[in-house]
């Protein structure tokens, strides 16, 4: 048999296409296996539980498993009879039929937005059917946000108000109807509060304007199961929590606040001697020494995506450090000492960010709170660097910035140890290779809180134990007030 030219070329062409296709497919699959697009999810908020479910796409429409949706909310049971799917949820009986857009729930006919899907004995309905379907199962208000795929069952929505209560420095106070714990992140020109666990809902208007040039507006948005508040500001902003998490106060950072107060003072008395120089962008800001003679930075270690040590199945180090840090702030406030927390929520901060923020605002000292289930009592740690008195030129080495401040850090460590011992807490003073201590250009100590009794991790979560540690640390910090920090440049 002889093949014609065209048949040969056609065959070779087809074979080449197959080879290229297979090779391309293999390479594509290998690379596609790496980073993947996060799957769509439905987030449900209710009085019983808050949870998220995966969303499956079927014929271009988003579907969710009805059994999975209802299981956390009550007693649910399903049986399959041919194309018919019978569901019982608490006392409500429902009948769904495969590929039918009509269901019967509690004796009433319900029109679904898209046909009911039945696969492997599990029934699924389109997301947009939920608003029509669920009121027949629950005798409660159902709020469905199709854009963000948030489903709120019952009166669990968290409302909030926001208003500027002071102008210089401006203070934005947001009151929530129940405690919230958003992820807080700071970006140039804005502060972002991301609510992943609470059913925060939009105010009357999604953009609130405040008529203040430094904190100009707050915008509400919802995406993929979460609500977010973006606060626009001309200055770096920080959020502080109070009232058990029901109040969030947004203020300019300490450095920005000082500059704004100085600006206001200069306006009132332009010739005032000793007015601090302002950061014009070309030169570093001169920080007024008198205005913040004793100002403490408190750093609740870890946070956000970094949980720290798993102290128990439920208890993460980041929660304990934040709780103790908040108590320490209150104790210092009671003693008339100003403090600033680097994170006052579940924010992710890198070690470098912590050092940069601290060095930028020039506090009298830096206290970093850690927690551990190992050992007992409190460990106090200063940097594991040799003292270096000559590291005071115009530029400091980032990795050894702490060296010149080490004597002051050790004095602080001694004062804290003494105060803790007076409260009958066992203390150990050591050096440790723990960042960001090495990068700080201020006196700094890391405090690792362990249970009062070895092995009893639950101690760490007891308010009385946390309060004892916080008040003892505050006593030690107050003791240092009379001694000028030796490391301040």
């Amino acid at each position: 048999m002889r093949w014609s030219n065209s048949r040969y070329y056609g065959f070779i062409f087809a074979a080449s296409l197959v080879v290229i296709g297979v090779a391309g497919f293999t390479v594509f699959e290998s690379f596609a296996a790496g980073p993947s697009v996060p799957p769509k999810q439905l987030t449900i908020y209710s009085t019983v539980a808050n949870y998220s479910l995966p969303v499956a796409e079927y014929h271009g429409t988003d579907y969710v498993g009805l059994l999975e949706l209802l299981e956390p909310l009550g007693t649910v049971n399903a049986t399959v009879k041919g194309k018919q799917w019978n569901l019982r949820f608490n006392n409500a009986q429902a009948v769904f039929v495969q590929n039918s857009a009509t269901a019967v729930v509690a004796g009433q006919s319900v029109r679904l937005n898209a046909p009911f899907a039945l696969q492997n004995g599990r029934g699924a309905v389109s997301l947009n059917s939920l608003a029509a379907l669920l009121p027949h199962f629950f005798n409660r208000q159902i709020t469905w946000s199709p854009g963000s795929r948030r489903l709120i069952i019952g009166s669990v929505a968290v409302h909030f108000t926001a208003q500027i209560v002071r102008n210089n420095p401006p203070t934005l106070v947001m009151q929530f109807t129940s405690p919230v714990n958003p992820q807080v992140s700071t970006e140039p020109g804005r502060l972002l509060l991301k609510f992943t666990h609470e059913a925060v809902v939009a105010p009357g208007t999604t953009v609130l304007t405040f008529g203040n040039k430094d904190i100009s507006s707050a915008s509400y948005s919802e995406t993929d199961g979460t609500a977010a508040l973006t606060i626009a500001g001309k200055v770096p902003l920080f959020a502080a929590f109070s009232n058990n998490g029901s109040t969030i106060t947004v203020e300019p950072s300490a450095q920005a606040a000082i500059q704004m107060q100085a600006q206001a003072a200069q306006k009132m008395n332009p010739a005032a001697p000793g007015s601090p120089a302002l950061n014009t962008g070309s030169e570093p800001a001169a920080v007024p020494t008198g205005a913040q003679s004793y100002f403490v930075v408190i750093d609740a270690a870890h946070g956000g995506q970094e949980r720290g040590a798993a102290l128990s199945g439920q208890l993460g180090e980041k929660e304990i450090t934040l709780a103790i840090a908040r108590r320490l702030r209150q104790e210092l406030q009671d003693r008339g000492i100003t403090s600033f927390m680097l994170r006052d929520g579940d924010a992710t901060l890198t070690l470098d960010q912590r050092a940069v923020m601290t060095n930028h605002i020039h506090p009298a000292m830096y206290i970093c709170i850690h927690a551990s289930s190992a050992g007992s009592g409190v460990g106090l740690y200063t940097s594991l660097l040799p003292p270096l008195e000559n590291n005071r030129g115009p530029f400091m080495s980032w990795s050894t910035a702490q060296a010149a401040f080490l004597p002051a850090s050790q004095s602080l460590e001694n004062a804290l140890a003494s105060a803790l011992q007076q409260s009958h807490i066992s203390v150990r003073e050591l050096s440790a290779p723990v960042r960001p201590l090495n990068n700080l250009a201020v006196p700094g100590v890391a405090v690792e809180v362990a249970p009062s009794t070895p092995g009893v991790t639950a101690d760490l979560a007891y308010p009385t134990y946390q309060e004892l540690i916080a008040s003892s640390l505050a006593v030690g910090i107050a003791e240092m007030r009379g001694h000028a920090p030796q490391g301040t440049p």
Partner: protein, 201 residues
């Protein structure tokens, strides 16, 4: 004109490519599932054989929060680099034992040790060493001090130690102990002594 043999060869190659593509696709899924066995704590590399030498291992003790010396004998090869590897493996065996006073995660292992003159030792651990390490300032610090002190006490001329994980730099061991910078042997010696003093108080 293309011969019939050439056409058949092309067809065979195309089929082979298709089969290989499917095979690779199939194996890709399996490859991602291949991980170290967390339950297997045995070191992969067998200890060196031969005559033994006296060495001092510096073992961390979680209960007292200190480093204590342990005089023992192990078989050590001639080269400094190989000696360093064997010392660290002997240390890891102590920590992976049932009665260890300072536990490391199962599967922890030294991948490589490099001696870089003048006086720098680079230790490369596997991923399990860091991922399964207990988290905390003191517990992480004890691990690092034990490694540095054991090497410097048994191999003369070591001034600094750098720790890598899986061949790469890592910011911290398990959230606390700094792995970004080198460890200074003199500072570690001083701290180990300080730990002994503060523990005795």
């Amino acid at each position: 004109m293309i011969s019939r043999q050439l056409a058949i060869s092309a067809a065979v190659l195309a089929v082979a490519a298709l089969c290989m593509g499917l095979f690779v696709w199939h194996m890709r899924g399996r490859g991602t599932q291949t991980e170290y066995s967390a339950a297997d704590s045995r070191p992969v590399t067998p200890p060196a054989a031969g005559p033994t030498e006296p060495v001092t291992l510096y073992l961390a003790d979680d209960a007292t929060g200190s480093i204590r010396p342990l005089e023992t004998r192990i078989a050590l090869p001639e080269g400094r680099q190989q000696r360093a590897e064997e010392l660290l493996r002997a240390l890891m065996i102590q920590y992976l034992g049932k009665d260890s006073t300072h536990s490391l995660g199962a599967g922890s292992e030294v991948r490589d040790v490099y001696l870089v003159d003048p006086g720098l030792v680079v230790i490369d651990f596997n991923q399990a060493f860091a991922d399964s390490h207990q988290s905390g300032i003191l517990v992480e610090e004890l691990t690092v001090l034990s490694l540095v002190k054991t090497l410097s006490a048994n191999i003369p001329g070591i001034l600094q130690v750098k720790i890598l994980v899986n061949g790469a730099e890592r910011e911290t061991l398990a959230g606390h102990a700094d792995l970004a910078d080198n460890y200074d042997v003199a500072a570690v010696d001083k701290l180990v002594a300080q730990m002994g003093e503060s523990q005795g108080r």
